[in-house]
Symmetry: C2
Subunit: 418 residues, 2 copies
């Protein structure tokens, strides 16, 4: 890249257009990005050809070239940024597919699924924590690490299967929002307890999070009144893609700023844009962006999988118990909260809520940094989180075809007409 700072440059990189001071790191970063992308696509191809979810192939491709296997690619901050933008764009495009009215319709159900499916894993985690001899606070941390759903993988699988318009998909998406708000509250409470001061900060953070989602959902129906020219008034914009990209990016950053996940912000922006006349144009224009960025999310997720905790048989047992309880509790949450959708539909909701991700990792890292848990428990938690993530796509592929579309209840019937 041009105009680099004035530092000596390493030999052999002097020709590189990415030369200069950070030349080596730059070239390595670019090469790793290419390898991660290529591995994800090859992995997807192989898995699709054996009729398995492409996303597992992408995860595995990333794992194989990543630092815990072949080591061909390293996961730089740049790769993480590509991955984050990938999942942000993914959730934004998922938001584009959802009509706000349909989401509001399943609101009570989503709240039930989200809440039950958040409390049960905490109880299970605390139980397991106490059973293996941890104190109350560490046990609570284990529970919390097991609580929060990560919607990225599920969204991708549902989109791949073409069932984002089904009621269970909307319940999952709504429940993911509820889940994220509860995580916001719980992490605030836990850090407050651990640091001995449960200040007004937690309350403020929670209120900011609720306000963000509330205002976003309230604004969405107003999108119908926005004219197309609002999105293409800038001279630089022939299409709404760049202006909407800016809005999406801003929404993701704002969500992150108030303490929510960036993807929740992108999803809410997607909901709003879905109501405007530019929806189809944006959906079309974002297809290439999704195709280029999203694979990084799955490849990087795969590349970061460190299964070393699974080598010790004793730890392996704890990992498996945590992972199984993690899936079971979300399954119960899904079934109990969305029973009205019918048996298999509610099972799909539970399965869809199973993958844990960034919040689980962040909570575990928080526990480690606060001294609540040691490195062993930390590794165990990571491995359990990863397992729930790997299992979900397979289970979704198995359960979704069993969930009938013709269940006789208003939500699912309503969808068919939409």
């Amino acid at each position: 890249m041009p105009f680099l700072p004035d530092l000596p440059i390493p030999d052999g990189l002097i020709f590189s257009s990415g030369g200069g001071a950070e030349g080596a790191a730059f070239a390595d970063t670019l090469f790793s990005l290419f390898i991660l992308f290529l591995a994800a696509k090859i992995g997807e191809e192989v898995f699709r050809r054996i009729n398995q979810p492409g996303v597992i192939g992408e995860l595995l491709g990333g794992f194989i070239v990543g630092p815990f296997a072949l080591g061909l690619a390293h996961v730089s901050i740049t790769a993480e940024v590509f991955a984050e933008l990938g999942v942000v764009i993914l959730l934004f495009t998922v938001g584009l597919e959802v009509r706000i009215d349909d989401l509001v319709k399943v609101g009570p159900m989503a709240i039930a699924v989200g809440t039950i499916g958040f409390i049960l894993p905490i109880i299970a985690g605390v139980g397991i924590g106490l059973a293996i001899g941890e104190e109350v606070l560490p046990a609570a941390l284990i529970g919390l690490a097991l609580a929060a759903t990560s919607i990225g993988i599920t969204s991708r699988v549902l989109a791949e299967m073409g069932v984002l318009d089904r009621a269970f998909s909307r319940v999952i998406l709504g429940a993911a929002i509820v889940d994220d708000i509860l995580a916001l509250l719980a992490i605030g409470l836990l850090s407050g307890f651990a640091e001995g001061d449960l200040g007004i900060d937690t309350v403020l953070t929670l209120m900011a999070g609720l306000a963000f989602v509330g205002i976003g959902l309230a604004l969405a129906p107003l999108g119908r009144r926005l004219p197309r020219k609002l999105f293409v008034w800038p001279r630089f914009a022939d299409t709404p893609v760049v202006p909407v990209f800016i809005i999406m990016f801003a929404g993701a950053l704002l969500a992150q700023f108030v303490g929510l996940a960036a993807i929740i912000g992108a999803f809410v922006v997607g909901l709003i844009i879905a109501e405007t006349p530019v929806r189809e144009e944006v959906e079309h224009g974002f297809r290439s962006l999704l195709g280029i960025f999203a694979p990084f999310f799955f490849a990087v997720t795969g590349a970061n999988i460190d299964m070393s905790a699974l080598i010790d048989p004793e730890l392996l047992v704890i990992v498996l118990i945590l992972a199984v309880m993690g899936v079971l509790t979300k399954l119960v949450g899904g079934i109990a909260g969305s029973w009205k959708l019918g048996k298999w539909n509610s099972v799909v909701v539970g399965v869809g809520m199973s993958p844990r991700g960034e919040v689980g990792i962040v909570v575990s890292a928080l526990g480690l940094s606060l001294g609540l848990i040691n490195r062993e428990i930390y590794a165990v938690l990571l491995a359990a989180v990863i397992l729930t993530t790997l299992v979900a796509p397979v289970m979704l592929q198995w359960t979704v075809p069993r969930a009938p579309r013709d269940e006789r209840h208003p939500e699912e019937a309503g969808t068919g007409a939409a």
Copy 2:
């Protein structure tokens, strides 16, 4: 991002989906990217509204938010990677617009423009270097820093003006390839001289560079025989966008590997894809990618502008002399090499070849690291390079409308029909 390594995380970032070990750097990087993009687009908007080239607005937007002005955004390696991919995608899409036959037709002219426009700045630079009291080798370095054209800015302006199909555009693009090969040779020779061993490496590097371009240009016409299904055979590919992105990325990395600029590789891949039946689909699909990535190139270039050398009046004079001579020598190269295109058309070629960029920076950094030049001369060279870059878009906007399309000579006439 999920699955981060097991390190403590900074307070306040625990909610961030980008949390974890590198949480702070990650959040900062993401925010800086947003600011750079936003600034580029606001800058472009302002400049378009006052009927000036949008690209200057993007550069200026980046400069204003960058570390040498307001400091709202910092230029991380991630931003450099986005910028590099931006200019790679830009040159790839430019390649899509060019037919290989048309490029070969202007081949001799491009070689003349590229060669004359490479030798003259070296002579001028050496002269100025000797005049300010430098030794031969440092003076040669100053000449070389002034020699190599950077095609990114010119491509963008020509595309913005809708004149990529004109003969002068093709001459510029062809001459840029010649220019890059000469730079490859010259840098090899200079480092050889400076390090006292002029080995076989230089010859090998040059041959690899020539082979890359030669094979690429020879392959391009074969593109016509490639069926569409070759680009969409993977199950993951509904459209050719993702496979072609992989090929473009590989071409850019390969060019960099053999010592050429990454953008030359992307341009050559663009030439090849332009001959295939998927050209239009790819062009369409890459429009959003171009819209999202390319602004980073200009914003980052702007953000890295450090004009501190211009504060000292004595240095300022040298900067201005170097910049003026830099533009004049390219102008003479353009006029002398492409005189057959007619007066104004050949002036446009010269103006289009004026912007210097990454190679100038890299050569200057090389000179600094080899101890050939001191920090003052280094800063002077950077400032001169930047000036040639800033001046070109304005001059292009002034000269292109004066270059008549109806010049009576086979190349330009042939273009009208294409």
